[in-house]
């Protein structure tokens, strides 16, 4: 059972991020009355990028070369540790799943990606990095507060404990909404950033990685796909905390439900992206204020109901 789970988890870790990306793109295309690229297109893209040679600007330094590698490594470590697919880690690993540690580990990758955006001396990179910094300023507090509320309800800062502990469904619901709203900004998705416009100037994440090409770009894209899985998976798990029955299920079924719900979140986001418009850049704080509001409500409930 355990070995089966490890194999499943490894496949999941490798396949799921790009599959989710493919599904999101497909649903979005269908929403726009297009046939859209095949669901497996992200896999083809990555494979092609890995085969191509890469173009590096004269102005860059080692930061530009190493940033995607740091970003991917930290994302993979976080993906192994964060319970985004409902997996249960060996108990000895529990201390490593401290939520502050994992959020800061992801920030380490982001820090270097922002630096690499400035490394080539392109104004696009500067613009993207600056906006990315703003988004994380707005997002981090609500993420920490909502996860903190969950941790308070569970009495433990380790995610492996939080996500196996029966938690008041109100706290879980509010925290899940806060996490979802925040994750859309964090992942450069629709109301904040549109990854599909024709001009990089209007984007955040794509503007940052404009200079990356070839295998460097492949790693970067893969890292951001993993981050997508991490945050939506985490929201899915938080939503599932609302169902007390979920915790009692056998682990395989929990696993499949977790993956399934993450897919549903992805499809819902893609559906919403089909009918929403991107917010004006200056309105982004107003949108993220909702994440802050929900996390505050979760914190209040967690503080009252001891």
């Amino acid at each position: 059972m355990n070995i089966l789970l490890i194999i499943l988890q490894t496949i999941n870790l490798l396949v799921m991020p790009l599959l989710l990306l493919g599904v999101v793109r497909k649903v979005k295309a269908l929403m726009q009355n297009r046939v859209g690229a095949p669901i497996l297109q992200p896999f083809y893209d990555i494979a092609k990028l890995l085969r191509k040679s890469e173009t590096i600007s004269y102005n860059t330094s080692w930061i530009f070369i190493y940033a995607p590698r740091i970003s991917l490594t930290t994302a993979v470590i976080a993906a192994v540790l964060i319970p985004w697919s409902g997996q249960l880690l060996p108990p000895a690993w529990a201390p490593a799943t401290n939520f502050i540690f994992l959020l800061y580990l992801l920030s380490l990758g982001k820090f270097f990606v922002m630096l690499s955006a400035l490394d080539a001396g392109s104004a696009f990179g500067g613009l993207g990095a600056s906006r990315e910094a703003v988004i994380s300023i707005l997002v981090e507090p609500s993420m920490v507060i909502s996860l903190g509320a969950l941790a308070l309800a569970a009495g433990d800062m380790n995610m492996s404990a939080i996500y196996t502990h029966p938690i008041n469904p109100i706290i879980a619901g509010l925290a899940a909404v806060a996490l979802l709203i925040a994750s859309l900004a964090e992942l450069s998705r629709m109301p904040v950033d549109d990854p599909t416009t024709h001009l990089e100037l209007t984007m955040v994440h794509e503007a940052m990685i404009l200079e990356n090409s070839g295998r460097n770009l492949a790693i970067t894209e893969y890292a951001s796909a993993i981050r997508m899985c991490i945050f939506w998976g985490l929201s899915a798990q938080t939503l599932l905390l609302m169902l007390p029955a979920y915790n009692a299920m056998p682990i395989m079924i929990k696993y499949l439900i977790g993956i399934g719900l993450m897919m549903i979140i992805g499809i819902t986001v893609a559906f919403l992206e089909g009918i929403l418009v991107r917010l004006k850049w200056r309105r982004v704080p107003n949108y993220l204020a909702f994440a802050g509001l929900f996390s505050l409500l979760a914190a209040m409930v967690a503080a009252v109901r001891m």
């Binding site: 040679s53 600007s57 190493y66 001396g121 703003v134 903190g148």
Partner: protein, 661 residues
């Protein structure tokens, strides 16, 4: 509390360190113009001796024999675990400072007496050590004053510049004010207890409010806590870089030391209001400091504002600890003090590293303006590499040391939320976690700007283009500190036990050993292995399809210049807009030309912000004081002998009246 009198070995080691610095002070006075390498040797030796005496353990207390006497109290020195922690910080930072200083002072040798700077640095070290080991209030005050004056002399070192003279005077004014409060508080405490010895102070209840408030304000001025931080971003950039490193890294920590000593560890003065007050002021300092750091164009000023932020973080730890003591939850108290102490050490390491990095750039090309630098990573790989390590550490990113301290603080807030007695406290603890996260994200933005704009990209000036790597000694000093950032981060679990001992009350057990749970070593190995594997794979792929070097993408418009890059001001503009209410932020854009919309001849943008505290509170206050002294006090001393006779007669009458009562 009782300290075993082991005035043997380690006290002598500490004494030898002080003596070594004393020699350096004297030599510096003698060799004013051309100081020899002996100065560097004695300064480093002192640091090393102090570090050994701090690490190798052993509490001691020493009283100097009779001729050394301060009116009402003797020269008593005490070293307990808390004092040794700070002695360790002083010794640790002193060594790289001694290495770094000669290379840096080289470019200033024309217009200032380098030897005097050396001797003042040595005196600063002596006085800081004195503050830490002072056993009574009088010795503390004397050392505190020597520390203030020697650092004033250092800030004023390059006094040919008007701006530096002004900064030095502001610093002098602030430190005078602080000492006045501190002295008032000490006198009050003396009046209540009848003794100057710290160990005999036990002030509780309503009695404690007065002295606690005065002493706290006096210490807060020195620490640079909001709203008393005014002097810090002015004085620190004015001093030579190694001095800024010592001031920001170590000197302001002496105030933190005194707070922990008087209010928490030995509970000499216990006032209930201090915990919430320090927590609130600490969180305001953290947010305020980093928000202003983001807007700065001068690298050193940015770092100075970031010191305000870090002091705020340390104060948050102290605040948590005080609340824990108040409710007798020993775990919270221990975590809070441990977070404050560990962050004090970490901040000393990475802030001196960052100041030295800025100093290395400044010494080479005389530019500190972020928007005039750029591309330094090619010509100064070591300095910039160390600066990046320092930035990762100050952003509290794992696995470096900054993370360890901040994680303890998160842990403290979480324990507060878990064990807090009321809903309000539990909720505020969660919110404070959010504030800490906000500060963390702002710090990342600030240092992405500091590194990315000023050291990466294309050089924005010819000086930056032709920058040269600093001298070998300067580079070694920086690499040493960068190494410490990594080492302290990875070995953080080992510090929990000693930190726990510092905080533990006599009748309590240390609780912290099992509280550090993050497997930093394992994770660091995995990170390095992961990056290594990816690198190997990329190299393998590159063998088949080699990388090609080409210009940065310019949309087909022709070659990009340095001027088309993002600037520091544009980087921080969106953040400044969001927090605009705090800065009163405004951008004026003027476009000139006939058909100005489509064919502008000249476009200029000007960014303005206002530090409310400075312009709305301190400036009117200083103006009022100036006016009062000009209009009123000056009349008292008009140079007329008749008037002086009247004064004397009035004072005599007053004395007779007071005496006859």
């Amino acid at each position: 509390m009782s300290i075993p009198d082991l005035s043997g070995g380690f006290a002598w080691l500490c004494g030898a360190a002080l003596f070594s610095w004393l020699i350096a002070t004297v030599i510096g006075f003698i060799q004013r113009r051309n100081p020899g390498p002996s100065l560097q040797f004695f300064l480093a030796l002192g640091g090393l001796l102090l570090l050994i005496s701090a690490i190798s353990g052993g509490n001691w207390s020493v009283s100097l024999p009779l001729p050394f006497y301060l009116g009402d109290a003797g020269f008593n020195f005490v070293a307990d675990p808390l004092a040794r922690w700070f002695l360790g910080i002083i010794g640790l930072i002193c060594i790289p400072t001694a290495l770094f200083t000669p290379g840096y002072m080289h470019h200033l040798r024309e217009h200032l007496s380098v030897g005097l700077v050396w001797s003042m640095i040595a005196l600063l070290m002596i006085s800081m050590t004195g503050v830490i080991i002072a056993g009574n209030a009088l010795v503390f005050l004397v050392c505190w004053e020597v520390m203030a004056l020697s650092s004033f002399a250092l800030v004023a070192a390059d006094h040919e510049h008007r701006a530096i003279r002004k900064a030095a005077f502001i610093y002098l004014g602030a430190t005078r004010t602080g000492t006045a409060f501190l002295m008032g508080g000490f006198l009050w405490a003396h009046a209540l207890t009848g003794t100057w010895t710290f160990a005999d102070w036990h002030i509780f209840g309503t009695e404690a409010i007065g002295p606690a408030l005065l002493i706290f304000i006096g210490l807060a001025v020195k620490a640079g806590c909001w709203p008393f931080h005014l002097w810090l971003p002015i004085a620190h950039p004015a001093a030579p870089a190694p001095v800024s490193a010592v001031m920001s890294g170590v000197m302001i920590k002496t105030a933190i030391y005194a707070m922990i000593r008087l209010f928490i560890v030995d509970e000499h003065i216990v006032a209930a209001f201090l915990g919430p007050l320090i927590l609130i002021l600490g969180s305001i300092s953290a947010v305020w400091g980093i928000l202003f750091a983001l807007l700065q164009r001068d690298l050193k000023r940015l770092l100075a504002y970031s010191s305000v932020e870090n002091i705020g973080i340390i104060l948050m730890g102290i605040g948590i600890a005080l609340l824990g003591r108040q409710w007798n939850v020993e775990l919270i108290a221990q975590i809070g003090v441990a977070a404050a102490l560990f962050h004090a050490l970490n901040h000393a390491v990475f802030k001196s590293l960052l100041f030295m990095g800025t100093g290395a750039i400044d010494a080479g090309i005389h530019i500190r303006d972020i928007d005039k630098l750029g591309g330094l990573i090619r010509n100064m790989p070591w300095t910039v590499g160390a600066f990046i390590v320092g930035s990762v550490a100050i952003c509290a990113l794992p696995p470096l040391n900054g993370f360890a301290g901040e994680w303890l603080l998160y842990k403290g807030f979480f324990s507060l939320a878990l064990l807090g007695p009321t809903v309000g406290i539990r909720l505020s603890a969660l919110l404070l976690m959010g504030i800490l996260a906000l500060v963390g994200a702002l710090v990342i933005a600030c240092f992405v700007k500091a590194v990315g704009i000023s050291m990466l990209g294309m050089p924005r000036s010819s000086a930056a283009e032709n920058a040269k790597e600093a001298t070998r000694e300067m580079v070694i000093a920086q690499i040493f500190l960068a190494f410490l950032c990594v080492a302290l981060g990875v070995t953080a679990p080992l510090f929990m036990s000693p930190l726990s001992v510092i905080v533990t009350r006599a009748n309590q057990l240390p609780l912290l050993q099992n509280n550090w749970s993050i497997p930093v070593v394992a994770i660091s190995i995995v990170i390095i292995a992961g990056i290594g594997l990816l690198t190997a794979w990329m190299i393998k792929l590159a063998r088949k399809n080699p990388s090609r070097h080409f210009i940065t993408w310019e949309c087909g418009f022709g070659k990009l210049g340095p001027r088309t890059q993002y600037t520091g001001s544009s980087f921080s503009q969106p953040i400044a807009r969001i927090f605009g209410a705090i800065y009163n932020y405004a951008v004026d854009i003027t476009i000139k030309g006939k058909q100005r919309r489509h064919f502008p001849e000249k476009v200029s943008a000007e960014m303005n912000y206002e530090a409310y505290l400075e312009t709305r509170i301190y400036l009117p206050l200083i103006h009022t004081i100036k006016r009062l002294s000009g209009n009123f006090l000056m009349r008292l001393q008009a140079g007329s002998i008749h008037q002086y006779f009247i004064h004397m007669a009035l004072v005599l009458a007053l004395l007779i009246w007071v005496g006859s009562r």
